[in-house]
């Protein structure tokens, strides 16, 4: 599993980085060999990846087909209630045997040769293991030293916190809590505070851009008040709001924390074409915002856990957004909207209404996918060039404002450390 992958000629260390990580080579987004190395280093070793929510598999035997990087995995609740994550690849011929997205079973059976696995991935039996008797003579069968215990499904290490399930192919990985680090874990725990989650549903989009661009999009507090009219006009996210940018010690994860204010107000941040002072909604229920006790102040906290997931709180709308790469130039982006067990019917409806701002058709989020696609077009066309991320300087530091691209610089500092190893 950990065999080194030969590096492409263009590697993280030979790439032309200027001024720390404030200028990011286009090549990091469009080199297939580099992409394979990223999968290994970020998705398959030393990292925890998001696979789903406990509430998606409430009953014993429930399973969900999920992904880590480009590998298919199954999130399963065994008959004793314990959650397991196993790779969806038969130990015999590699068949990704589970085809349904959700279901309930007592065992996994690969259809090809009916190898039979317990829900925790242990191999229970294989047909014709001891051969087949004909005319009193046993024909064939597995070798005498064939041991079921050696041929289970690949079992992943599992961490469950606040109802969210993470897994790692790397059993040496640090604890989930150490992986996230205390500064970002605070915001994880704020959202997932132990209340039972209720699933509201899914949105799935395929974005033609490199997967890291979505991490960068949610580490970029510069764009929301510019690209997104609704954010600046209704004060949901604008550069003169109170805000904090917080990273873990490795700068790989981050939380962007902001408190709503200045709706409709004119200031230097509203001197942009996206600000519409006279814009009024025909139906204001889209923004029927009711503060919740667990917010403890901030109206929006966007958390990026590198490499696999974004955790969204934007006023009353909460979701997880899973990043599943598919080659260097595409990724799938899976939104799981949820609520909490103590939500009233009105609150559920409010979360669903505000979901119109987010997702592949969202008043706010739809154009994030669009700009990612257009960035990728340029990267492919001009690999020797680089992007610029110098708002707020060239250093990597937490800030008490959002007029900065420090989180992107931080992410690439970490990326270089890991990729150049």
């Amino acid at each position: 599993m950990n065999a080194p992958i030969p590096l492409a000629e263009l590697t993280a260390s030979t790439m032309n980085w200027e001024r720390g990580t404030s200028r990011i080579p286009f090549a990091v987004y469009n080199d297939p060999a580099l992409h394979k190395l990223e999968l290994q280093r970020f998705f398959y070793e030393k990292h925890w990846c998001y696979v789903g929510l406990e509430a998606e598999i409430p009953k014993p035997g429930d399973y969900k087909r999920s992904s880590i990087g480009e590998r298919s995995v199954l999130l399963v609740r065994a008959l004793d209630g314990i959650i397991h994550v196993v790779e969806n690849a038969c130990a015999h011929r590699g068949v990704a045997f589970c085809r349904e997205r959700f279901g309930n079973r007592e065992a996994f059976i690969c259809p090809y040769h009916q190898w039979n696995y317990a829900l925790d991935g242990r191999l229970r039996g294989v047909p014709m293991r001891h051969g087949v008797k004909r005319d009193g003579v046993v024909q064939g069968g597995m070798p005498a030293d064939f041991n079921l215990a050696d041929h289970g499904l690949t079992r992943l290490k599992v961490a469950v916190r606040g109802g969210v399930v993470f897994a790692s192919f790397d059993h040496q990985v640090e604890s989930f809590e150490d992986f996230v680090g205390p500064d970002v874990l605070r915001y994880f725990d704020r959202l997932f505070d132990g209340r039972q989650l209720t699933i509201l549903g899914y949105n799935r989009q395929r974005i033609p851009g490199n997967w890291k661009l979505m991490q960068e999009n949610i580490k970029d507090p510069y764009h929301p008040g510019l690209l997104h009219t609704w954010f600046v006009t209704f004060g949901l996210w604008r550069a003169d709001n109170r805000a904090q940018m917080v990273m873990d010690a490795h700068h790989r994860h981050a939380a962007m924390i902001s408190t709503r204010g200045n709706a409709g107000a004119v200031s230097e941040v509203s001197r942009v074409s996206s600000f519409k002072q006279t814009m009024n909604l025909h139906d204001p229920r889209f923004l029927d915002i009711v503060p919740e006790p667990w917010w403890n102040g901030p109206t929006a906290v966007m958390t990026t856990l590198f490499p696999s997931v974004i955790l969204q709180q934007q006023v009353n709308s909460v979701s997880t957004r899973q990043i599943i790469p598919d080659g260097h130039g595409h990724f799938d982006f899976i939104w799981t909207h949820f609520g909490f067990e103590d939500d009233t019917a009105e609150m559920t409806q409010r979360r669903l209404r505000q979901a119109n701002l987010f997702g592949p058709a969202g008043f706010v989020s739809a154009d994030d996918g669009e700009v990612i696609e257009f960035s990728q077009e340029s990267f492919e066309a001009k690999p020797a060039h680089r992007t610029l991320a110098e708002l707020g300087g060239r250093d990597v530091e937490n800030t008490e404002h959002m007029v900065t691209e420090t989180l992107i610089r931080g992410m690439y500092r970490y990326w270089r450390e890991v990729m150049a190893r």
Partner: protein, 160 residues
């Protein structure tokens, strides 16, 4: 089909479907809300959510006002690649005719064409609709597009 429809009503119904497709394919967003009643429901929902009983929809509007807000958003607030869309809608299948209400199901396919690019199949599914008689003719009280398409190709800007 649980009840017969007079020929005039059948004609008006098929005309409604044809006119609707024509307006959204022409990008005539100001005209689009006029196909609906004031307290209409308009939803575009993944088949997965529909069949599993999850309420989330990709677009979920509960009034003509919300449709007007979407029309404004397309024109003024959403940055996006321009594209054409083209609906091919099957013959409406009557599910129920009663109390001035016609419940209808119709298969649809929407093709997307971006500038300088090949045409692709964008979104495929069926609509579940409630059509009502009003003084201004037949209107949609409810339009739900339940789509089979597993992945939205990047984004959905225009209403189906």
């Amino acid at each position: 089909m649980s009840a017969a429809l007079r020929f005039e009503d059948w004609y008006a119904l098929t005309q409604l479907y044809a006119d609707y497709a024509s307006v959204v394919d022409a990008g005539n967003w100001e005209q689009w809300p006029e196909f609906f009643t004031e307290d209409c429901v308009y939803r575009v929902q993944p088949r997965e959510n529909h069949e599993r009983g999850f309420p989330l929809a990709t677009l979920s509007f509960e009034s003509k006002g919300m449709l007007k807000d979407r029309a404004y958003g397309i024109r003024e607030t959403l940055f996006h690649d321009p594209y054409y869309q083209r609906h091919v809608v099957g013959v409406p299948r009557l599910l129920r005719v009663a109390d001035g209400c016609i419940e209808v199901e119709a298969n649809y396919a929407v093709f997307r064409t971006k500038l300088s690019q090949l045409t692709t199949v964008y979104n495929v599914g069926r609509s579940l609709d409630v059509v009502v008689r009003t003084p201004a003719g037949l209107k949609f009280a409810r339009r739900e597009f339940i789509y089979d398409s597993e992945m939205i190709p990047n984004s959905m800007i225009y209403p189906l």
